[in-house]
């Protein structure tokens, strides 16, 4: 990595979400991206490969998402800040390596730009990869997933993702969607160190200095175990660590969560509409509020339960068929606030949709 700073000071910029990812990765000190084209994340790769030459970062287009995912794990194992980006069927295909990253505690970073599903679906937009991104693979969801809602957040959380990954050594995700990926809007880009954000130094898990067997023992990393008991011990240990660090990681925001007549819950880009709608309705004197998980894995369960408990009614709005609602209900088990869902799988949700639904709930 060269010493030249990609971003000096603070700058307003007008970018697409995909461009924002690439610039944030650059500013966040990413060393290498491995990727395979898929709409709507292509432009992350395009931008990255276009802007890196002066900074001595690397890019490899692999033969498929399986490879991109495994190579991404490899880059991180080798001690480099490594990332990839994918979507939809590519995300499904990449679960195999993501699952290895969970099992081996590999601090690889994944960018997910959700598209319509199932299967090829559309190349446009959805929130139908929530379950897949938070709990995909044959594992237990040892992943940290930031669900962003605007370009500023894309920038901030992409930088943060590298720090989270390398601090806690769980695979870390920034989850956006096709709308955000292709949308052009303004944000402030900056050099994180200048803002006082300490960037965590990556550490190799293989290939450390010294001759193995002479200067140090060789490192032998595995993800398979001979006995049930061995795997069990690993599972319990990692789960406990995941639970322990969750308190440090979870992020959420809420408004008027003290005692709203209706609390609206949503994540990612849908939150923009929720935010707008709730603001408008509050202006109109309606007693409504919102709760938004920023980390969808782990979830800020305490804040969530609090908000749900205080509300008279809850509306979960999402561009999928209840993937968020299912999680909310599981996390809030034991509470009795009625929860209803507004689901537009693969379609955008606008503020007037939210207002209409909330008002219908208020009337009931």
């Amino acid at each position: 990595m060269s010493n030249k700073k990609p971003v000096e000071g603070e700058k307003r910029a007008f970018l697409t979400g995909n461009e924002t990812v690439a610039w944030a990765a650059l500013a966040g000190g990413a060393d290498i991206m491995y990727g395979y084209p898929i709409t709507p994340q292509n432009q992350v790769m395009h931008t990255w490969s276009r802007i890196i030459p002066p900074y001595n970062r690397k890019f490899l287009q692999t033969e498929d998402e399986i490879s991109a995912g495994f190579a991404n794990c490899a880059g991180a194992l080798a001690g480099k800040k490594s990332f990839t980006a994918t979507a939809g069927p590519g995300n499904a295909l990449m679960q195999e390596p993501q699952s290895m990253a969970e099992a081996m505690r590999i601090p690889a970073v994944f960018i997910i730009q959700q598209r319509g599903g199932p299967s090829s679906g559309t190349v446009i937009y959805s929130q139908q990869e929530l379950t897949l991104t938070t709990y995909g693979g044959n594992g237990e969801g040892w992943r940290i997933v930031y669900s962003v809602c605007n370009h500023q957040e894309i920038y901030d959380y992409t930088i943060k993702a590298f720090n989270t990954a390398w601090t806690y050594r769980f695979p870390t995700y920034v989850m956006g969607d096709g709308y955000q990926a292709e949308l052009r809007e303004a944000l402030t880009i900056y050099d994180p160190e200048e803002r006082g954000i300490k960037m965590v130094e990556p550490q190799p898990m293989v290939g450390m200095p010294g001759k193995p067997g002479v200067d140090r023992p060789p490192v032998h990393l595995v993800n398979i175990y001979s006995l049930e008991e061995e795997l069990y011990d690993v599972c319990i240990k990692y789960q406990m660590e995941f639970d322990r660090i969750s308190g440090e990681i979870t992020e959420s925001e809420g408004k008027n969560t003290e005692n709203p007549d209706v609390l609206v819950i949503g994540h990612g880009v849908v939150f923009r509409s929720i935010h707008e709608a709730v603001k408008e309705m509050m202006k109109d004197g309606l007693n409504v509020g919102y709760f938004r998980p920023v980390t969808v894995r782990p979830m800020d369960v305490k804040a969530l339960r609090n908000a749900v408990k205080n509300a008279k009614k809850v509306l979960v709005a999402e561009s999928s068929l209840g993937q968020l609602e299912r999680q909310i209900k599981a996390y809030c088990y034991g509470l009795t606030t009625p929860i209803s869902g507004y689901f537009l799988p693969g379609m955008g949700i606008v503020a007037t949709d939210i207002e209409r639904e909330v008002k219908a709930l208020l009337k009931k």
């Binding site: 007008f14 709409t39 709507p40 190349v123 446009i124 937009y125 709308y179 955000q180 292709e182 949308l183 052009r184 809007e185 303004a186 880009v269 849908v270 923009r272 509409s273 935010h275 707008e276 709608a277 955008g348 949700i349 606008v350 503020a351 007037t352 949709d353």
Partner: protein, 183 residues
Amino acid sequence: MAKIALAGEGGQGVQAIAQIMVNAAFNEGKNACYLPNFGLEQRGGVSLSFVQISDSEIGAPKFKISDIVIALSKRAVVRTKQYVGPDTIFIYDNTRVAESPDYAARKILGIPATDVANKELSSRVFNIIILGTVIKVTGILGVDSVKYALQESLKEKFLKNPDLKDLNFKALESGMSLVEEVL
């Protein structure tokens, strides 16, 4: 707040004028965003663009009902129907689209942009005429700031051929007056 949906055939420059508009808004310190649509085909689909310009924060990147719809071909007229509401101003190129659509909009305005471009200016600035009409109808952007953004985006072309600048500015103004006539 202005929500503008632009639609046309590939090559008509729809995305370019969306870009100029949001650049102008950005320069004016307004909130602005623009979402191109993307279908499956690389070519041949209707090119759509969702532009929003506002003094306050912008919500969803894609809206369902437009304040203004611009449709530049027959297919574009059909494709944009879903974005038309009772308060929408619907503008179409009446050179290319003979019949005025019977959408339940606030206003439906036919602009002979193609005709004017071909006859009075140049077919190349067809989209700038359209830009002019949008600017006029929305009134949300300063003409100077649009001109500045236009200039920025065509800087290199203008450098090579200084006459182009004039041509484009004329097109812009002509778009503005064309729509004034029918408003």
